[in-house]
């Protein structure tokens, strides 16, 4: 950088020195004693001096210096641009990363919330179902108990209602046909004796 400035100062100093030399020669040649020829000669000298100062080599040097300077500036700018680009890329990356992270976080949050809601809904539904099943089970249990109790009571009632028939059935099954009417005669006569008066009354009053 310092070298660039020194080069620039040197070029500017050279230009100023050439200009001063040109002006001094113009003043020397422009005295009153000279005429039209002097003017031409001065002009020619000036042109020669200019030509001498700004010769092709000098111009090439200037062109090279300008090219180098331009290349240098281009390089610097390219570097700055590259730095800026890198910085920008980095920032963009960072921004993108943040944005993506933020978006993903939001999406995940939403997704998590949705899952949580779905989970809560499912849990509520399961709980309701469980409660309903438990209630239904309780009702069924109660109904079953009542039905069994009723069935049991019906069975007992039927048994009690038909007890004589059942006992008679088992007695008959046990004794079979072993008791004939001859053996039953005593029982029959005792029963007739027991109902004797009722039979007499009914026969006497017979329609």
């Amino acid at each position: 950088m310092i070298q660039d400035h020194a080069g620039t100062i040197l070029i500017v100093g050279s230009l100023l020195a050439a200009t001063l030399a040109f002006i001094w020669m113009a003043i020397r040649l422009g005295s009153p004693s000279t005429g039209k020829n002097n003017e031409d000669s001065i002009k020619t000298v000036a042109e020669n001096a200019v030509e001498q100062i700004f010769n092709d080599e000098f111009r090439e040097e200037l062109r090279n210096r300008g090219r180098l300077h331009f290349e240098k500036i281009i390089g610097e700018n390219a570097m700055f641009l590259q730095q800026d680009l890198r910085l920008t890329t980095s920032q963009v990356n960072e921004f993108m990363k943040q944005e993506i992270t933020k978006t993903l976080k939001e999406a995940f949050s939403t997704y998590e919330q949705s899952i949580q809601d779905a989970k809560n809904t499912a849990l509520d539904s399961i709980n309701k179902t469980r409660v309903a099943v438990e209630e239904q089970g309780q009702v069924m249990k109660q109904q079953l108990t009542e039905t069994m109790e009723k069935e049991k009571q019906d069975l007992i009632n039927r048994f009690e209602a038909n007890m004589a028939e059942i006992v008679n059935h088992y007695v008959i099954g046990a004794i079979g046909n072993q008791i004939d009417l001859e053996d039953q005669l005593e029982y029959i006569l005792s029963e007739l004796e027991h109902n004797k008066q009722a039979i007499i009354d009914d026969i006497k009053s017979g329609a």
Binding site: M163, A164, D180, L181, L185, N195, I199, G206
Partner: protein, 171 residues
């Protein structure tokens, strides 16, 4: 033996006895039919003047015992008439009773029961015999208006409270 158709005379009010052989209404009907048949036979024989004691139709033990128990002679037209009238009267106005057993009773059992009934219930009672296998043990007596269940089942029915108590005690 001479026989003539007797004139109609009022039935004497003597106490008529039924023998144990006459148990049912059918027995009575058969006896009436038999004595009527005998009466008709003797009447016809009298008209033809061909009858003799040897040619008399064979009579059943039931009819003979019935006549004997009531001091009636089957060869006497008046007695036969009296017997017929008595039997018809019994058939029309006699006391009837129906008794059912589980199985067909033997004649001896029937006679014993009928004898008891004629001694204790009514001396001219007629008993119809029926069969009800459901009775198992005992009998069922049916009079005009009532049914007397004297079966063992009915006895158990009456003893239901006692049976329930026994069951509860055993359980």
């Amino acid at each position: 033996m001479t026989e003539k158709k007797p004139n109609k005379k009022p039935v004497e009010t003597v106490k008529f006895k039924l023998t144990p052989e006459v148990v049912t209404n059918q027995d009575l009907s058969r006896a009436i039919h038999e004595v009527e048949k005998l009466d008709e036979f003797l009447y016809q024989a009298h008209l033809r003047k061909a009858a003799s004691r040897d040619s008399l139709p064979k009579t059943t033990v039931t009819l003979e015992k019935l006549a004997e128990a009531n001091n009636l002679s089957l060869t006497n037209a008046e007695d036969r008439k009296q017997l017929i009238n008595h039997l018809r009267e019994l058939k029309m106005r006699g006391k009837k009773l129906h008794i059912s057993f589980a199985v067909e009773p033997s004649p001896a059992v029937v006679q014993k029961i009928v004898l008891w009934m004629r001694q204790n219930i009514h001396q001219e009672i007629l008993v119809d015999i029926g069969i009800q296998p459901a009775i198992s043990v005992g009998c069922v007596v049916r009079t005009t208006n009532k049914v007397f269940d004297m079966s063992l089942r009915h006895r158990f029915d009456d003893s239901r409270t006692m049976l329930s108590g026994l069951l509860e005690k055993s359980s």
